[in-house]
Symmetry: C2
């Protein structure tokens, strides 16, 4: 585990760096003129941990992919994440006025405008991926679209959001909450790693360990999120906390208690790290991400 | 113009046939289990003229593409159209309780559920296109995604919807309304023709006439829509009419008057037909579609 000290240092530099790169790429590629463009930029630029871009670029770089290609794919997945937050924050969904420490998109631009900005961000994601500038290899472009669309849709993120809405006020058990979170958050985190592997032209049979890693950090991430929601600081989070309990949503902390939830997250991280045993130093960034996920304070 | 009589006959058979094929393909490919799947199916199956699928498959078949491939691409574009109607009907947008003669998606399933069903339909569209079953050629798959994503997004359909919202109560002039409608409706109709050409492996330089045809029928379609909204039958339309005037939206009929609007639509159809002069009988279906667009009663 000695390598992790070095990796933590790498991460301390890498997280702000990737955030800057993501913002610059969004700025270069998002439409610039008009109200819709403004709302899309408000939603996409200048906020968030950029965890999905980090996972994607780290996995891609690890397998020799071009960095600019990886960054384009990274903003595609981040556009999907950003659109999902815009729609999640709507009055008819979670009704959140703040996001990333600033007004949520519907607060700043209006309800209909936020629906449309989210819709346009989703189209933008696939437009970026299918563009020859993302990869000269059309097979890679088509596969990136397939992985992201399938993770974003009814059998992924949006499917999880629907289970989340449906579950409000119901006594969901641990397997049901796990399933919901694996779709709602896990699918997109897994897609980030998978898209990195696609860019690195790793064949599907070579992606098994990476998939295991992604699945475990995805779940650890959600448990850590529940812990932060339970005990965290609203100013650091940049959004309202403890809304799940108020909405009657079942969480890992609610089901396991704080101590066992914390233990479970740590165990998942250890398991994720074990999946990376066949890699050397080139996977140190992915190792650092796994630790960061449970140690972060926002 | 004698060939059109035969083409009208073809269209009388073709419109119900394509509607059946589209419903069957949606039924085969949309997720089946759970509330989200039900809402997606409600929005996508059993309604609409299926004009975009007709344009896409007609253009694809004309250039020798495989019919099953074309039908898969056709339901992808129809999924985008269907999602846009789901979101358009939301209380924060046009607030329409009825669509295709049945309750709109949010009326039947709830507000948040309709937002999510629309979102998932958009992901579904790109997932279908990027799937190797849509074309064995990854270049074709990636290009289909690029054409559709660009037509659906901020510089296409959603961009037009935002201009539409922004224009409510404003004195838009003819160029402004034309621009808005070319984005809101025209971009997707053009994409239908373009995607057919992509499947038929027509090189971009060979698509000029088809693009002209698509642009002209797109505008004619919207003028005809305004005429139907102005004078049409709510029972046949299966939705509330004359809402544009009530919302203070500027329409072609409002700007030109009924007589000149009708004349303009006919002129655009003639122009569209002229673009097809280099084609023989194989383009009769596209010719029939152009006429149908201004003669339809719903």
């Amino acid at each position: 585990m000695a390598a992790l000290t070095g990796a933590d240092r790498i991460l301390a530099e890498t997280l702000p760096a990737i955030a800057r790169e993501v913002d610059a790429m969004f700025d270069a590629l998002l439409p610039a003129e008009g109200k819709l463009a403004k709302a899309m930029r408000h939603a996409a630029i200048g906020g968030g941990k950029r965890l999905r871009p980090l996972l994607l670029t780290a996995t891609a770089t690890m397998h020799g992919a071009d960095r600019t290609n990886a960054l384009r794919a990274a903003i595609a997945i981040e556009a999907i994440h950003a659109y999902s937050l815009v729609h999640d924050d709507l009055p008819c969904m979670d009704d959140d006025a703040m996001r990333h420490g600033k007004p949520s998109t519907h607060t700043a631009f209006g309800y209909a405008e936020a629906v449309l900005a989210g819709d346009a961000l989703q189209s933008f994601a696939f437009e970026v991926l299918a563009d020859p500038a993302t990869s000269g290899d059309p097979f890679v472009r088509a596969e990136l679209v397939l992985v992201l669309a399938s993770a974003a849709g009814a059998q992924g993120m949006v499917g999880g959001q629907m289970l989340d809405i449906d579950g409000e006020g119901q006594a969901l058990d641990l397997p049901a909450v796990t399933r919901m979170q694996q779709l709602k958050t896990g699918a997109l985190l897994s897609a980030a790693v998978e898209m990195g592997a696609v860019l690195g032209k790793l064949p599907p049979e070579g992606r098994m360990h990476l998939r295991g890693y992604a699945r475990d950090i995805g779940l650890a991430f959600q448990i850590a999120d529940d812990l932060l929601d339970h005990a965290g600081d609203e100013a650091k989070a940049g959004k309202a906390l403890r809304k799940d309990a108020a909405a009657g949503k079942q969480t890992f902390v609610g089901l396991l208690g704080e101590g066992r939830a914390r233990e479970q997250a740590r165990m998942l991280v250890d398991q994720a790290l074990a999946y990376l045993n066949s890699y050397g130093q080139e996977a140190d960034l992915l190792r650092a991400v796994a630790r960061y996920i449970v140690e972060r304070d926002r």
